[in-house]
Subunit: 413 residues, 2 copies
């Protein structure tokens, strides 16, 4: 089964928005064995949309369209698909009820725009949009299917995973494609490549990609197989070979993130944590609390940007800051044990560093970060150099801090 | 002048790589007045590439192709364009010399792959690639031009700015395109549409797009003009009309974000702020400290996830939490005045709510958030309903909290 992904929106054609939707859809379709034949993008103009719909519908078995379904005048996709399939709009009671409930939940009045959004092309099935007001549409004919979804990423993703994939999966599957991603952090791509570079020759039917990001290098295994069992077996084999060489650096798999992995470990061990952040500015607390259920182990966080707040909230002696500086092993350790004592948690975690762009010195350049950890076994701090870029330094430091806790829990260090 | 951007590569079709190249090229072409008619992506397969070249060449005056020019077996673009234009490969001495110099600089030996890369289609002009070995190609005919560039982003970008734009700019320049984006928050798309929907009829040569996101709705003005002066004048006129109707909701323009706008206002007024977060979990502190120079006004933040931390760090009376609950007007106000008192700042800001997915009740469903603010004029709290989705609730609450401070500073409320 092959597919065409058509994304619609002037914001894409002027380069204002990077097209992440098409990559997401491609990845999801691929996972169920649907090959993407082509992806295309046109603007919010009737003639262009109609031409693109024709090309997509004629060339692929499945077409997924996103964008231009909103309530404003520049949203022309619904009108275009009506014209393309020769149908008209009719009121849909289920859609109307859903929009009404959403509006009520958000304390918004019923408007003409809401009324308009509850109209659905007569020949289309409705693809529910749990997170938004614009319903998705499904057209079928001549053994082909077209899905039309809103372009708002979180609405679209929910609809792909909740409706489109479940609909297509039983129809797709002659060939099986499996991806598995191993997530590493704290180790450069070149080191991983030197450890794993020869695997490529050993991997029958599998390929390995190295995908670097500020959170670490992701190792993606891709396997084509004739059956699920065959493909899954190859994936397991390859994953085993990789783990036997670099397991120390792998903190999770696929869509996991480090905060979820670490949170699971803390919850399982019934441990609590508190965080004292300077240069990361609240990012570690933000990430830890992104995890549902984190209130079971995250007791508190403080963002001590001023020296006064370090002294008042963490009892870091003014003398320590005076003698060693706010960015030092001594301050990081004092912050970690200070937050652990104040919050009465099992673990105290701290960061202090120079996120930049200003504030660097020859001996403490921008990107210098001390990360401290205090637990029943004692207190220590580790120095890192994260390079330049304020937000990137924060991201890397938050990742390294959580990884320090993870390895400590595993008694790796 | 219009253009088609064709990106080639299997890694794009499986969703492994997000297509940032097409957005970059679109933005650069747009700036010199070239409209993008369509963007398309196909894999490294001869038939697909030939079909896509045909569609692009037939439909647009300019085609920009990237990807598949490298030295490995899966790079078929050069072969495809030779077939498409009916030409063959010939050695090019300039290209050969350039590749030789690059290889020498990198201490690499001359290889068969290097020899092969110095072959260029007979009917093509060379687009120099200062940063890499694969030369770019330029084909012309029937008033049309096609550029074929490597897909490596930094090589491609250098070639777009160094060769493609200088070549096209003199040919394009009959029209000028200007974009300006006004950033709103705290107001639904449907309300903005009802306030501004009639502008479309009034805007000669301009168009208005509504782009929703969790941070708010962006209003993008696009103007086509014959001269820069004319286009800039129209943009100013349209922006003025929009501001006269909805200025209250506009916090910034173009690439700005709310934390930068608010930070600028605090710095200019020499005011300080401290933040007490419950449901936002550190996100407000993280965003405020993403701004370079924020240590001048951001004194501290606390993330009080436990009731104990609210009492100890913010002096929220246990009786207040007991009587009204942690998610209440009273707790939000007490947190805001508590952090302001502890940090001795001009402004104290607080959030307390139910980010979900669990913890909701019929009277306080998931998404219920109280935001408190304390300043010399007094203390107040406002209730919001942000719907579902833990991270999205945090994002919306952080945006609403900073917007509350911004409007308070402007004496809007």
């Amino acid at each position: 089964m092959n597919a065409h992904i058509l994304t619609i929106g002037d914001e894409l054609l002027i380069g204002q928005v990077i097209n992440t939707n098409q990559a997401f859809i491609a990845e999801r379709l691929n996972a169920i064995g649907v090959d993407i034949a082509c992806m295309s993008t046109v603007g919010d103009a009737m003639e262009a949309v109609l031409g693109a719909l024709r090309t997509a519908w004629d060339s692929a078995e499945v077409t997924v369209v996103t964008g231009g379904l909103g309530p404003t005048h520049d949203d022309i996709t619904r009108t275009a698909v009506c014209a393309f399939f020769g149908t008209d709009l009719v009121p849909n009671e289920d859609v109307r009820r859903h929009i009404g409930e959403l509006m009520k939940k958000r304390n918004l009045p019923w408007t003409a725009a809401a009324e308009d959004q509850s109209l659905v092309p007569r020949s289309a099935g409705v693809v529910p949009n749990p997170l938004g007001t614009a319903p998705g549409l499904r057209f079928s004919g001549k053994g082909k299917t077209m899905f039309v979804l809103p372009g708002v990423p979180y609405e679209m993703k929910e609809m792909i995973d909740g409706s489109v994939i479940p609909f297509l999966a039983p129809l797709a599957g002659e060939q099986v494609i499996r991806h598995r991603t191993l997530l590493t952090t704290g180790i450069p791509e070149s080191f991983l490549a030197s450890q794993l570079g020869d695997l490529d020759r050993l991997l029958g039917g599998a390929s390995l990609a190295f995908l670097p990001s500020p959170a670490g290098v992701r190792l993606r295994i891709t396997v084509h197989g004739r059956t699920s069992a065959e493909a899954d077996g190859t994936v397991r084999d390859v994953e085993g070979r990789i783990r036997s060489r670099v397991s120390r650096y792998i903190y999770g798999t696929d869509e996991e993130d480090l905060e979820t992995v670490l949170g699971g470990m803390l919850a399982e061990r019934k441990l609590t944590i508190a965080v004292a952040e300077s240069c990361t500015g609240g990012l570690i607390a933000h990430r830890l609390t992104n995890v549902s259920g984190s209130s079971a182990y995250f007791e508190r966080g403080v963002v001590t940007y001023s020296d006064a707040s370090k002294t008042e909230l963490l009892r870091v002696p003014a003398g320590v800051i005076g003698a060693h500086g706010a960015v030092s092993r001594e301050t990081a350790e004092s912050m970690a044990s200070g937050i652990r004592g104040a919050a009465r948690t099992d673990i105290g975690l701290s960061t202090t560093g120079i996120a930049g762009p200003s504030g660097g010195t020859p001996s403490k350049p921008v990107g210098t970060v001390w990360i401290g950890i205090a637990d029943p076994a004692g207190t220590l701090a580790v120095k890192f150099s994260f390079g330049e870029g304020r937000v990137r330094v924060k991201e890397r430091a938050s990742q390294a801090a959580m990884e320090l806790v993870r390895r400590r829990l595993l008694k790796m260090e």
